[in-house]
Symmetry: C2
Subunit: 237 residues, 2 copies
C-alpha cells in the first residue's frame, strides 16, 4: 500500500498552517526536520562504515534542514563537511551556519573535490518548493551527484526532480537516482518514480492535520524520528 | 569520577552565550532540552510498563522543557497529562501549550487527583534559576511529589532544592528525593546530594563551550540525546 502523498502546493500550505494555527516556529520545525535527516544518515551509513558526510545545501529551507542535520551528525561522531555556495540572507540560515562554524565543521567551496573524499552525501539543495530551472552553480553539482558512486540521501526530493512529475527528461538531473530519499512530513508525488530506499521523517504531525491534508502518519518505532517505509517506489508499497 | 558541575550563575551565562554568540534561538534550545527529557522518560518508563505520564510545569523555562517533552511523549505513544497552573505570558510558552492542545493532550488543574492515575511524573516546575521561596500553588504540589510512590523524573533540579546547596532543610521539599534526575547541558552542584538515577541531556554543547565553562561533554551513544551517568550522587561517579 502506498503512503498518500502531499503536492508541492499542499506541502507549502501545511508548513504555513503549522506555523500560524499550529503555533510552531520555523526554528522548531527545521530542528525536527534536520534531526530526522541526521537519523536517516545514521541508519544508512553506520559510524563504523565511514564517517565522512558531505552535506550539499541549497539557499532555502531544504538547505537549512541540511545545516541542522550536519550539526547533529557532528555530535553523533561523524565528520560532516558542508557545501553551501549561496550566501542566504535569511537570519535563521545564517545562525545555523554560525552554529556549525562554532563546532569547527568545515565548509567547502569545491564540491567535486570534496566528493573525492567522502563516504556519504546529503542532497539538501532543492526541496518541495523547487520548480523550473536549476541555476548556477547547481547544474554541475547535480551532474556530479548523478555520476558519483558515493551513496546519496536526498532530502524531500532528488534535486532537480519535479515535485509532481518526477525525474527531469533532460538537463543535469536526467538519470539522477539517489540511493535514498527522506520525505519530510509526508512523501511528495515524485516518490512514484523513486527506486531507492525511502524514509519518512518529521514526527510532529497531529492526526487532525494528517486527516485534513489526506496524509498517513507513519508508524514510527520507539524514539525514532524517521521510519523506513519501503525499498521501492511508494506506489508499490 | 564525578562530572564537573555548572553553578546557577554559570548556567544562566552559558544559556545566554549560546543564544548570543552561539546563535541558538530559545526555540531550538528548548526543543532539544525537551527532547532529551522525553528520551529519559522513555528509558525510565518503557511504553509497555504504563503510558500515563503526568508532566508538572512551572511558569519558566523549566516548564517549557516539560511542555516540549509532553509533545514528544505523545508522539512516542504515551498518554501525557499536563499540569501547568500558571498562565505564562511568554510567547513561546503559549505556543508550546497550543501545540499540545492541537494534539488533544489533556491539561489538569487538580494535581493531587491526576496523581492518582498516572504511571510516571515529570517534575518541570523549577529549574536552575530557582531560589528562595516556593510560591502558591506549588508548595502543595511539591509535598505531593515528596509523598507519592509514583516515580518522579526531575528536570535539572528536584523542585524546591537549592541549586548550589541541595535539598531544603525545611518547607514542602524537605525530604523530597525523586527517583531520577535529568541534568540539562551539565549537572548542577545539587547533584552532590542526589541519590537516584542521573541522566545528562542536551546534546549540543561544543568542546570549546564545555572547556570555557569547565564542563565535560558526556559520552552519548548512537542517536541518544541523553546519557545515564550513574546511579548515585555525581560525587561518587
Amino acid at each position: 500500500m502506498a503512503l498518500r502523498t502531499l503536492s508541492a502546493k499542499n506541502a507549502a500550505a501545511l508548513d504555513q498552517e503549522l506555523m500560524s494555527a499550529g503555533a510552531f516556529s520555523i526554528d522548531q520545525l527545521m530542528e525536527l526536520a534536520g534531526l530526522s535527516v541526521s537519523q536517516a544518515v545514521f541508519k544508512l551509513q553506520p559510524l563504523n562504515k565511514g564517517k565522512r558526510i558531505l552535506v550539499a545545501c541549497g539557499p532555502g529551507n531544504n538547505g537549512g534542514d541540511g545545516l541542522v542535520a550536519a550539526r547533529h551528525l557532528h555530535h553523533y561522531g561523524y565528520q560532516p563537511t558542508v557545501y553551501c555556495p549561496k550566501q542566504s540572507k535569511n537570519e535563521l540560515y545564517q545562525r545555523l551556519r554560525k552554529q556549525l562554524e562554532d563546532l569547527k565543521v568545515p565548509f567547502t567551496s569545491d564540491f567535486r573535490t570534496a566528493l573525492q573524499s567522502t563516504d556519504h552525501i546529503v542532497d539538501a539543495i532543492f526541496g518541495f518548493s523547487f520548480s523550473g530551472e536549476v541555476r548556477e552553480p547547481f547544474p554541475g553539482v547535480i551532474e556530479a551527484l548523478r555520476e558519483t558512486k558515493v551513496p546519496v540521501l536526498a532530502v524531500d526530493a532528488p534535486s532537480s526532480w519535479n515535485i509532481e512529475e518526477g525525474p527531469p527528461k533532460d538537463g543535469p538531473g536526467k538519470g539522477f537516482m539517489p540511493e535514498a530519499l527522506i520525505s519530510l512530513t509526508a512523501p511528495k508525488p515524485l516518490v512514484k518514480w523513486f527506486e531507492g530506499r525511502h524514509f519518512v521523517g518529521g514526527r510532529f504531525l497531529s492526526k487532525e492535520m494528517a486527516e485534513k491534508y489526506g496524509l498517513d502518519v507513519p508508524k514510527y518505532e520507539g524514539l525514532d524520528q524517521v521510519v523506513e517505509v519501503g525499498v521501492e517506489g511508494a506506489e508499490k508499497l
